[in-house]
């Protein structure tokens, strides 16, 4: 009984370590995927609001805007870095951010709607 009691925690510890290693690998994998643009960050457009209004991503990340409004929207960068065509209901637009910085954007059709992408 004692041996079993002492062995179980040891096994649990090994298991925890192994799982930790797996999670660490996964986390690295996710970061790598984001950096390569394979797993894009998303901004939802709903009720005339960008959600989240400010999004932080790693450099090289692809950001995707998805329009859930019944009204057409379009995203356009304040400094002319990107400008989408009209994004109709349930359509999306993606842009890959290469360089670190703070990027302000608006809806080209509803300029009171604005948001920020911060690239680390």
């Amino acid at each position: 009984m004692d041996r079993q009691h002492t062995r179980r925690p040891r096994r649990a510890r090994r298991l925890a370590l192994a799982m930790g290693a797996v999670f660490a690998c996964l986390a690295v994998g996710v970061r790598a995927a984001t950096a390569s643009g394979a797993s894009p960050a998303q901004i939802r457009i709903e009720s005339f609001v960008f959600d989240p209004p400010t999004l932080e991503v790693a450099s090289g990340a692809t950001v995707t805007w998805i329009n859930r409004d019944e009204e057409l929207h379009a995203v356009t960068s304040a400094e002319g870095l990107f400008a989408s065509p009209g994004i109709d209901t349930d359509e999306q637009f993606s842009f890959r951010f290469e360089k670190p910085g703070t990027y302000e954007y608006r809806c080209a059709l509803h300029p009171h709607m604005h948001g920020t992408v911060i690239v680390r």
């Binding site: 009720s47 005339f48 409004d69 019944e70 009204e71 057409l72 379009a74 356009t76 304040a78 002319g80 400008a83 065509p85 009209g86 109709d88 209901t89 608006r106 080209a108 059709l109 509803h110 300029p111 009171h112 709607m113 604005h114």
Partner: protein, 326 residues
């Protein structure tokens, strides 16, 4: 009777060569007439105006001289959502109303959002629709839907003839001076519409030689006054443009964009926001945003319409009549 080709040619002629003005206030619609008298905005039933037109006395009475034109706005050709699955049909109904007028309007003003987001083929369709209007000419200003994706390139190629900059323009007609302003480019720096310093400087030069007693009619897409900045329903530097026009005794500002009739008077300036021919939008602040307002299909035409404007060439306000399609 003129043929369609002649109509098309007339639409392309410069304003000075267009036919003289005809006035008529007879109008089969359920509109109200708004006019300025002693600084107070007042409304009268349209029937009164029609009666005045017949008797030759009172506002709306026919007199020699003056001007007569129509305004439509926000045709949004290319829109296909539930709020109006067929905006071509409703735009065509508005044009049929114009063509049914007893006297042909000198010209038609379209105050922008000709297309819905510059959808493929939309400019072709709207150009064809405008040719169906029996008017002496057509003047347009762009809405944000007409210019947002290419900075106005296609709009200017099709409708920019005789305009300057991003499409601003002016002309004289019937004793009044008309100015078309573009406030739908330059959104990057403001939450609302913007004219820009270059256009305002042009406006200053444009009106410099005019007598202060000349009635000035300004047409633009977004309201020049702050209707509801929270939804972008204002023009950042609109007050600057109006400042340029301060010395004039009569300034009438016609706009679209908000798809509803609103009036305001400020000193010598009257503002008139027009109905759309495509779909209504909510009253300021009554919804989450300024999107299409869905109404029961049988009610749609009571939210759409057009506008007829007359002026009799004597000191006094322009008479603005908004009329609904149904």
């Amino acid at each position: 009777m003129r043929d369609a080709k002649e109509d098309r040619e007339q639409a392309l002629l410069p304003p000075t060569s267009r036919r003289g003005f005809l006035e008529c206030m007879a109008w089969a619609g359920a509109g109200l007439v708004w006019s300025l008298s002693g600084g107070v905005l007042s409304s009268r039933a349209l029937a009164d105006v029609a009666r005045n037109a017949k008797t030759g006395r009172g506002p709306g009475a026919r007199r020699s001289g003056g001007l007569h034109f129509v305004q439509i706005s926000d045709t949004h050709i290319g829109f296909d959502k539930d709020a109006n699955p067929d905006p071509v049909a409703t735009a065509r109904e508005a044009i049929a109303r114009i063509n049914a007028l007893a006297d042909e309007p000198a010209f038609l003003l379209h105050t922008g959002d000709l297309t819905h987001a510059q959808k493929p083929g939309a400019f072709d369709t709207v150009a064809g629709l405008l040719q169906e209007a029996r008017v002496g000419g057509v003047f347009t200003v762009p809405g944000e839907h007409d210019v947002f994706s290419d900075g106005g390139k296609e709009y200017l190629a099709r409708f920019g003839r005789g305009t300057q900059g991003s499409g601003w323009q002016s002309f004289d007609h019937g004793g009044a001076h008309f100015v078309g302003l573009v406030n739908v480019l330059g959104f990057q720096n403001a939450n609302v519409g913007a004219l820009g310093a270059e256009q305002i400087a042009w406006l200053e030069r444009d009106v410099a030689g005019l007598s202060s007693s000349t009635p000035v009619v300004v047409f633009a897409h977004i309201p020049l006054w702050a209707v509801y900045p929270e939804w972008g329903w204002a023009t950042h530097d609109g007050a600057q443009a109006l400042g340029v026009l301060k010395r004039f005794g009569s300034v009438t500002v016609l706009n679209g964009h908000i798809h509803q009739v609103l009036q305001k008077t400020e000193g010598n300036v009257t503002f008139h926001s027009a109905l759309s021919t495509a779909y209504p939008q909510p009253a300021p602040g009554t919804a989450k945003g300024p999107g299409p307002l869905k109404v029961p299909a049988e009610e749609l035409r009571t939210h759409l319409g057009l506008r007829e404007v007359t002026w009799h060439g004597k000191p006094g306000p322009l008479v603005v009549v908004d009329s609904k399609l149904g």
